[in-house]
């Protein structure tokens, strides 16, 4: 979407004013004049948007690129319908989570565990491990005592 289109949608969504063709033309013309004045180009805007992405997602919502990226990170491949729903739901949820920014956490320490916690080591003793056959009982596919998967190296 170009910045001109974005502005038109923004006006329609936020003011409820339905933009007729001539009104839309008028808005675009004025915007172009402003853009000329500040030396704006689509290219520079994209780089700026990239670097700002992290802070703005609660406002802008989850777009197509981000949902694809999250699917890749999560090793999931959603159907187009599921994608639409996930985009919607995650945008709403992140919008809600955004309230955490109301709290000033400067100099507050992280708490990843309920208690001060040191590792509990066991004695280093040799003990029998679970039988291979027992573990393989649950394997979807197995061969020669190993988990079988599709060819991975040609």
């Amino acid at each position: 979407m170009t910045i001109q289109e974005k502005l038109l949608t923004y006006i329609e969504e936020n003011t409820g004013i339905e933009l007729t063709e001539s009104l839309a033309e008028d808005v675009t013309l004025r915007l172009n004049m402003i853009l000329d004045l500040i030396g704006y180009s689509e290219g520079t805007a994209e780089t700026a948007a990239e670097s700002k992405k992290a802070v703005n997602v609660a406002e802008t919502g989850i777009d197509d690129d981000l949902i694809k990226y999250l699917e890749e990170l999560s090793r999931l491949s959603l159907t187009p319908e599921e994608e639409e729903r996930a985009k919607d739901d995650l945008t709403k949820i992140l919008g809600y989570i955004d309230m955490l920014n109301e709290i000033d956490t400067t100099d507050v320490e992280d708490m990843s565990h309920p208690f001060p916690y040191t590792n509990n080591f066991r004695e280093d003793e040799v003990k029998p491990s679970t039988d291979r056959e027992l573990i393989l009982k649950n394997a979807p596919q197995q061969k020669d005592g190993c988990f079988k998967v599709p060819t991975t190296v040609e």
């Binding site: 997602v57 999560s74 996930a86 955490l100 708490m111 394997a139």
Partner: protein, 493 residues
């Protein structure tokens, strides 16, 4: 004989006194399951023959004096995310629809050692993610008080089975309220223990820094007995705390003199149903009459508990659930061309939508560029929440609150709006974030006839105080003895 009105401890005593055998008790529970579970759907797996065989074995051991636990021979059931050797453990998911663990969870071993008879495995929200048991791959569980309503979740099968007398007690797990909220919805009692009190070895991981296994029972005394049985240090769980099992023996005198109970006023504001508010505040009055001092205070930070919880729980879930790859166990999509396709399609077809949503949310908050703004921020606020509980426990022995903002809602009513569902966890998640214990006990009914639960929250390892207060309350009230109509009908044989 009908055992419907008996607690697990009473049945245990009857078995000791030879008024009934373990096999007879087990058969009666199996009859109850046959009569009701088609409607309730509390069980994913019923172990009919195995349970009777186990009961015979335990009965012999009791007679020889080899097993002396107060709950020996008493039939119970286990939430389906707790590993039971060679017995299906599905987590309510298509991903684990055929998974038979090659080992027992530590709690399963402890149950066996104490002569528990396992009737089966109980339904739950998929991977314990949900508050209504509607996301289970094996269909929703119904609330025994009104079968068109949800039993709560994620331990909905555990609470429904106890309420419907399809078992005498059950094990559940609680990551953000998953024991307490279903107990509230189904009119039964439950304990979410201190983090590290009960071994998580063999509990299928959802959010490892929040998960705890705990009991669901007909009353708090049963729950305390079960907690004694399953708690204690376990070298197989590195987060298990080096401490002896609980001893609740001095907790049952009904005396609350000198006990200070704080009521966080912001827990009783907007969003809380009048139906819930009234019985919970009346319960505070009851405790006051029993000798407790009640005082109101504010705890503003807990208003941020739900968003903090969903950031942290989903982050941990996205990491924990990366193990499901379709290779070693569980569901695998057939006829895949390469390894990536196995991963993507197996995970996509193996997980339900709520689980996928949480994995993606977790991946998001942990991803480069967002980590500091979400995950780190969440960890910091978790610290602030813990601090405000620490401050409260300097003044009070325990905190009293509702368990959930509403009573049980209709099946399907909230399932299309995840955010609305998450807001139902508002009174429970902060307890998991802080790692502290809480109990949920019945304290009344809404206008719709559905049970209402009371939550008592304690400081780390203050379970005995909570049990003392809950017992005193149940000694003078009868909410926990009420039974759903479907049980009363079936109970007059």
């Amino acid at each position: 004989m009908s055992l419907n009105k008996k607690t697990a401890l009473e049945i245990g005593q009857m078995i000791k006194n030879k008024e009934i055998s373990s096999v007879e008790a087990t058969k009666e529970m199996l009859d109850n399951i046959r009569a009701k579970d088609e409607k309730v759907n509390a069980y994913v797996t019923v172990l009919a023959d195995e349970a009777i065989a186990q009961a015979e074995e335990v009965q012999a051991k009791i007679e020889k004096g080899d097993v002396t636990s107060p709950l020996a021979g008493v039939p119970m059931a286990i939430k389906d995310n707790i590993c039971t050797r060679d017995i299906l453990t599905t987590c309510g998911s298509h991903m684990l629809y055929n998974f038979k663990p090659p080992y027992n969870a530590t709690v399963s071993d402890k149950l066996a050692k104490n002569g528990a008879v396992v009737l089966g495995k109980l339904n739950m929200d998929e991977f314990a993610m949900g508050g209504s048991t509607e996301t289970s791959y094996f269909g929703p569980t119904g609330n025994p008080w009104d079968i068109t309503r949800v039993p709560g979740g994620s331990s909905g099968g555990s609470a429904a089975a106890v309420a419907a007398r399809e078992c005498t007690y059950a094990l559940g797990s609680d990551t953000g309220g998953s024991i307490r909220q279903p107990c509230s919805f189904c009119g039964v009692s439950g304990i979410k223990p201190t983090y590290g009190a009960v071994s998580r070895y063999g509990l299928v991981a959802f959010a490892s820094s929040l998960d705890q296994i705990g009991p669901v029972g007909r009353d708090i005394k049963d729950c305390a007995e079960v907690l004694t049985m399953i708690s204690g240090h376990d070298p197989k769980d590195s987060t298990s705390i080096k401490r002896a099992a609980f001893d609740f023996s001095g907790c049952f005198d009904g005396d609350l003199k000198g006990m200070k109970i704080g009521i966080p006023v912001n827990y009783f504001g907007k969003g809380l149903d009048e139906d819930v508010k009234k019985p919970v505040l009346e319960a505070a009055e009851t405790l006051k009459k029993l000798g407790a001092e009640i005082e109101e205070f504010t705890m503003d930070i807990v208003d941020y508990a739900v968003p903090t919880y969903y950031v942290l729980a989903c982050a941990e879930a996205s990491s924990n659930l990366s193990r499901y790859d379709g290779i070693k166990y569980g569901y695998r999509r057939k006829d895949c061309e390469d390894l990536m396709e196995v991963y993507y399609t197996s995970r996509n077809e193996g997980f339900g939508m709520e689980v996928k949503r949480r994995i993606m949310l977790g991946s998001f908050v942990l991803s480069s560029g967002y980590y500091d703004a979400y995950y780190k921020k969440g960890l910091q606020i978790r610290g602030l929440i813990k601090k405000s509980f620490d401050e409260a426990f300097e003044k009070y022995d325990m905190i009293l609150s509702p368990v959930a903002p509403t009573t049980a809602y209709k099946i399907g009513e909230n399932s299309s709006d995840p955010l609305k569902m998450y807001l139902g966890d508002i009174y429970t998640v902060s307890i998991n974030l802080a790692g502290i214990p809480a109990v949920s006990i019945p304290c009344g009914f809404g206008k719709n006839g559905m049970p209402v639960g009371l939550q008592l929250i304690g400081n780390v390892f203050d379970e005995p105080k909570l049990v003392r207060a809950a017992y005193a309350f149940q000694k003078t009230t009868d909410f926990h003895t009420k039974m759903p109509e479907m049980v009363q009908e079936g109970g007059n044989k």
